[in-house]
Symmetry: C2
Subunit: 572 residues, 2 copies
């Protein structure tokens, strides 16, 4: 990866000349020689020491990039500048509003190095706001005067009027002033950073199960262990080029800002999910890994540039699992999906589906059904349990591993949030019995893996029977006419609720229906899909209504907003 | 890996039928939902849950093997049997005297699961001694009556008279008696194991720098983090078949008993270092990784069965680095060496040499010289420093990174011993300034890597000049006539000490000298090797004397015993 030979980084992003960067991490007193606090900062410092000239962050669209030695200097300047902000104190929040450009990657290290708390997206009560120019209009016009706002032009120092670069230069000048020719070099040791590994270092916001936004507290230890888990489970290594498709503001990018650096790989930035740019990167820039929701995968595989890649690219897929159709299409392009599961409260992926090599002999449909499960602990995660739902007691009783008894997914361990920020009641309720309660309903199979049926609030209760919207969607997605679908509860005179499906047709489906008028098309769709459903589910779960749509409402992270669909139905 | 279809494990190594094994780890009170103690036991329990039918341990020579589900049951029985030993209490030592057979692999989990302390090799003050039949004669004839001795016949339960299997059956019977059909399953939760991650769980003995045997204390956290580091740096994965060439009693097998299991790979047992068996395993059993000293690598590459492997095998090489000749030979066979460095006090490998892909364009000699360095932190290790030698002060001053200034290698962090067992004075001296002092002398290069010159006591001082025995040996090994060499100080009338070399000739060297009488051969060898040395080292470092030998005295772990060579010279 040496794309941008002509780019010359600004002073604040150039390590000192003629001597190595001092990469000492200041440790808490009292220190023990056999314990170092677990912090992801360690990954950056090691990469800068061991692989100083390897490209750490590349941003081809904006024509700039940094090696690990440059990046470590840049982040030192960021941390020094943050600590220089009037009134700065340990634990102060730094909000970051940014697409996947180096600004937000810098913040994942610089804020921690300053012993601040990284708060992607949420600017409330922040001491400092780092904001990309493309989203600066989202800030309120007036902010309290003690808040420092720094707007980045994403120039990498190539334009004189980039306030973020000027901010970094403040840090550089502090560094410069501290240099004494007659002393040992002082770079990172200037920071006097100290780490208690169980302290909060990031706050990621989620609406969670209740809909009220809550700040999820991540610790240094959790970020470190989550990153190690993802690095191992995604088989990252020193050749890794990780394409930033997943928004980094979402669960701290599932800890990949740290995982990629733990293996001393390269971060490849992408300002927006643009499939032409994704294919350019896949084909021409040695990309080896990316992550995203199935809806993003659909955009990738259906793009006109889609073609079989000369090398295998590992793709982490969360939310729902790829359908047989999508799985087959991905494999034909040399995209290998890994199905992971988690929530904001679990640093993104906490567990996954392990796939045994012998399954390659199974047909696609069987494989996609097997691979759709999850709940196998990642190496640094504890066992994922499915327990009998109980909102009041802390006693946890496991469901039978029979693939039938429905329970709630609960998790604990080093890759679980510390709690909800300044909300002890919500924390206590969500972590009763010392397990985090996900609100997701699942069965557990004899092999130990779980299969998610639904978010608690998305389940459809028809004539007293529980229907998993996820399972109905998976069956619909298995039909060749269906590109994507979402099902929700709709009021029904006899059964109280019944299943309403929203369907985006595949090109094949469009072809099959294109000569018919609306009523005939709808009737044919209902006949065909329900005939398919009858083979795979109980009668009460078969959709009663179908609506063909061209798109589904989604969150910024690609999750379907079922609430919006339900509201749409309520207005009918 | 399904080598041994006909083997039926004994009851103590069969998970319960008709229900999954309960793999709950009992945790300390008070517990936090976001912290799980770091313990390698976790790796076994996860593998048994996620990959129950994958071969965990295979021992083809004795015709038995265990899947992860079977192994988890077997280890549960071992832990229950240990806790049942009269007078057993937390922290009791379990000595293991065993070659690389399943007994010692079992102990790496079973002793920890019983909250005992694993003490390979050293039986003093042990509550229990687990001993393989091949070495049981090494035990004293009389032992205190409170010591339980269990001799393993290495039968895997195939013979009725195997005391180790009978011991496991005691655990099985305890398990059996605890089963209640009307209750939740209780298997691992029976153990009531609890873990403080900073508690000692293993004692590995070393003579260290002083020659007096000392017990090196390993913690649960250290074993976990060391294993994670080795799993990542060796790129272990689920397809890994790790061939046990390195003695597992040495530094707990460099944490690989846990690292391989962390990736849910397979342990391939080998009773002794037998090169024919090693080649059989490499060629026919899908071996992907092994570790060993350079002397072992020489045995591997020079064996008559040596041939280019169809797949790449990753080899961790410690002690000295492979010479250009050995490196070239290994690469031609598809054996890829990784040069690691560590001591018993650092759980084996603590750092390594990272290799940049572009070096492949360099010639072998240049590459072997570059690769011979080390000191690049592994992912879970802290920076390795080289500091000005100072036996009395705790102040640590780094040497210049100029490849010239000699200092002592010091290390700290999660993969450093807790201390020397019951020896606070030695611990305090070895860890002054909160860094472990290795006693190894090195220079540091501008790229951050270290290059070991010598153990402190092996350095040769000739006419006031320091000579690194390691550097002289590396130059000798670079000559095609030399298979292996060792140099030590020998008394010299003028220079006080001068360099004496002991040389094992390569086949080429034997050929070159084979028609000459002893005196002529010696003269020709001296001329030829010294002409080679003159191009690569200062005049005072060139050996004054050569002795051709057919073997060099070595420890059980393959290190050359220079003390024995010096004693030999003293008798001249």
């Amino acid at each position: 990866m040496h794309l941008l030979e002509k780019y010359a980084p600004p002073l604040s992003s150039r390590p000192p000349e003629g001597r190595p960067l001092d990469l000492a991490l200041k440790l808490e007193k009292p220190i023990l020689h056999y314990v170092s606090p677990l912090t992801p900062i360690h990954f950056l410092l090691r990469a800068a020491l061991v692989r100083p000239n390897h490209v750490a962050v590349t941003h081809p669209e904006a024509r700039y990039q940094f090696t690990y030695a440059q990046w470590a200097m840049r982040i030192l300047c960021l941390a020094l500048a943050l600590k220089n902000v009037p009134g700065w104190k340990r634990g102060d929040r730094v909000a970051v509003l940014s697409p996947n450009v180096p600004l937000i990657a810098d913040a994942h290290y610089g804020v921690l190095a300053a012993n601040g708390i990284l708060a992607p997206l949420n600017h409330a009560a922040a001491r400092v706001i780092l904001v990309d120019h493309s989203v600066s209009h989202l800030l309120p016009e007036t902010l309290p005067k003690e808040v420092t706002v720094v707007v980045s032009m994403d120039s990498g120092g190539q334009h004189a009027d980039d306030a973020y670069e000027a901010f970094l230069m403040q840090g550089y000048n502090i560094w410069k002033a501290a240099q004494r020719p007659d002393q040992q070099p002082r770079d990172w040791s200037l920071l006097e950073q100290s780490v208690d590994e169980l302290e909060t270092c990031a706050l990621c916001y989620t609406s969670g199960t209740t809909g009220r936004p809550k700040g999820v507290e991540y610790t240094y230890r959790g970020c470190y262990m989550g990153a190690i888990g993802n690095a191992m489970e995604s088989d990252l290594n020193g050749d890794t080029v990780y394409l930033w498709v997943l928004p980094m503001f979402h669960c701290c990018g599932w800890t990949f800002p740290w995982a990629v650096t733990a293996r001393m790989g390269t971060h490849y930035m992408l300002r927006q999910v643009d499939y032409a740019q994704i294919w350019d990167a896949l084909l021409h820039s040695g990309v080896t890994h990316y992550s995203g929701a199935p809806t993003v995968q659909l955009g990738v595989v259906n793009h006109r540039q889609a073609q079989k890649l000369p090398h295998m690219v590992r793709v982490s897929v969360a939310a729902s699992a790829p359908s047989a159709t999508l799985l087959g299409r991905m494999e034909s392009l040399n995209l290998q999906p890994v199905h992971v599961y988690g929530l904001t409260e679990t640093y993104g992926p906490n567990n996954r589906r392990f796939i045994e090599p012998e399954w390659l002999h199974f047909d696609l449909d069987t494989r996609s059904r097997l691979q759709a499960r999850q709940g196998h602990a990642m190496v640094t995660s504890d066992e994922t349990r499915v327990v009998q739902p109980n909102e009041t007691s802390s006693e946890l009783i496991d469901v039978q591993r029979d693939g039938k008894q429905v329970g709630e997914i609960v998790m604990r361990g080093n890759v679980i949030m510390k709690g909800y920020y300044r909300d002890p009641d919500a924390t206590k309720q969500a972590t009763r019995g010392n397990y985090f309660h996900t609100g997701d309903l699942a069965v557990r199979h004899p092999g130990g893996e779980a299969q998610i049926l639904d978010r608690g609030k998305d389940i459809i209760i028809s004539g007293g029977e529980n229907i998993s919207s996820v399972m109905v969607e998976q069956e619909l997605a298995a039909h060749p006419w269906v590109a994507e679908s979402a099902v929700v509860a709709r009021a029904h005179p006899q059964w109280v609720e019944a299943v309403q499906a929203f369907v985006i047709l595949s090109p094949e489906g469009q072809q099959a229906l294109h000569n018919l008028d609306d009523a005939a098309a709808n009737a044919k769709l209902l006949d065909t899909l329900n005939a398919h459903c009858r083979n795979h589910m109980s009668k009460f779960a078969i959709p009663k209504w179908y609506s063909v749509v061209t798109e589904l409402p989604k969150t910024s992270t690609g999750k379907i907003q079922k609430k919006v669909l339900r509201e749409r139905l309520a207005k009918l």
